[in-house]
């Protein structure tokens, strides 16, 4: 156990993780998430989704965005861009976009349906 930790530390020293690059990658993900979340809100509001249907729509759409990010932005190799691909790419900032989603969802629901 200790040997593997040491080995990992050594690997990190040999291939260091540059903080500014990590920050940039996270920023790109966050921007895409925020933009798409707002657009999904427009879609959900126009479709007239209510309560759980809307949130499920958001989760499914975020999943689609994750797949697109995986395929297009990282070329199927998220390990090259993220230290922890699961947390940073697949789940990263999903809930950060939720407030933007609710905002546009409410707005367009109010304009179109109610």
């Amino acid at each position: 156990m200790a040997a593997s930790a040491l080995n990992e530390e050594r690997q990190l020293a040999i291939n260091p993780i540059v903080a500014s690059s990590v920050q940039h990658n996270t920023q790109v993900i966050s921007n895409i998430r925020n933009l798409t979340a707002s657009l999904f809100g427009v879609a959900a509001g126009t479709l007239g989704l209510e309560s759980y249907a809307g949130f499920i729509f958001y989760i499914l759409a975020s999943l689609v965005v994750s797949v697109l990010l995986f395929a297009l932005k990282t070329d199927g190799k998220p390990g090259a861009y993220f230290y922890r691909p699961l947390g940073d790419l697949w789940l990263g900032d999903v809930f950060g976009g939720l407030s933007g989603f609710v905002l546009t969802w409410t707005l367009f629901y109010g304009l179109v349906r109610a």
Binding site: A13, S30, N34, L35, F55, L103, L107, A114
Partner: protein, 263 residues
């Protein structure tokens, strides 16, 4: 009663033009204004005198040496370590060597610390004043209108907050007044600011309050600490650091990597 009747309200379409749109525009503009106000209010750091700068920079030097120790060879690391540790322990870099071992003066009397507190006050003011003003503005002009229906149900506890100024007891909680649109924009406009102002803007008060709650401890404590103690602890950190040169065995690694590529 079993299935409640779906309540519908016919609203004037002008409500959108005269309430929803103005609030949104005002919120966006306030965010932009706050961003530029914060940029203007940022006081330029005061010029410190030479010994103070030397004290601070030499401490940073120790920290940098510790962080990057692995990229220099063992002998040069040992030489640097010996020099830094000795200088730290003797207090060579101290700005006021005669103050060593004496208790620190009251931080309130230190003008530099007061400066930092003023900066924090300004930041707080730039957040609080627009928030209060806009809340008052919305309450004064737009209270009493039901402007929109939320697409998701809420528990009745929200009724008093979201339907403030609407005196209808049996109205579904999903019908909300203008103040709740204000709250939605307050939390949801961060992406808009991101796209208008760039990513590290100072527009959103919510994210700023979070940052302040996290960061206030470190920033406030910084200037008050005894520099001598900081130096001694840094010397100790350097002493116990285990040094491992990154270029050790580089030939073997390189050969192994090239062999793996060529196969």
């Amino acid at each position: 009663m079993g299935q409640p009747v779906v309540q519908t309200i016919h609203r004037d379409p002008a409500l959108f033009w005269w309430i929803l749109l103005p609030i949104t525009v005002v919120m966006i503009l306030t965010g932009i204004l706050r961003h530029y106000a914060m940029t203007l209010l940022q006081s330029t750091p005061k010029k410190a005198d030479l010994p103070k700068i030397r004290q601070q920079r030499s401490l940073t030097r120790g920290v940098n040496l510790r962080a990057n120790a692995n990229v220099i060879s063992s002998s040069s690391f040992a030489a640097r370590k010996a020099y830094m540790v000795q200088a730290y322990q003797e207090g060579k870099f101290l700005a006021e060597p005669e103050q060593r071992g004496k208790p620190r003066p009251n931080p309130m009397s230190d003008p530099a610390a007061m400066e930092g507190m003023m900066g924090m006050m300004k930041g707080n003011m730039a957040m609080m004043i627009p928030q209060t003003l806009i809340m008052g503005w919305i309450n004064a002009f737009f209270s009493g209108f039901v402007i929109m229906k939320l697409p998701f149900p809420l528990t009745p506890q929200f009724k008093s907050m979201l339907q403030s100024g609407v005196g209808t007891r049996d109205l579904d909680v999903r019908w909300v007044s203008s103040l709740s649109w204000y709250f939605l924009t307050l939390f949801g406009l961060q992406p808009v600011y991101n796209f208008i102002l760039g990513s590290n803007n100072a527009a959103n008060q919510v994210s700023q309050q979070m940052a302040m709650a996290n960061g206030s401890g470190g920033g406030m404590m910084g200037p008050e600490q005894d520099p001598d103690k900081l130096f001694l602890s840094e010397a100790e950190n350097l002493e116990v650091l285990e040094h491992r040169w990154i270029l050790e065995g580089i030939e073997d690694r390189l050969v192994a990597k090239l062999a793996a590529v060529s196969v």
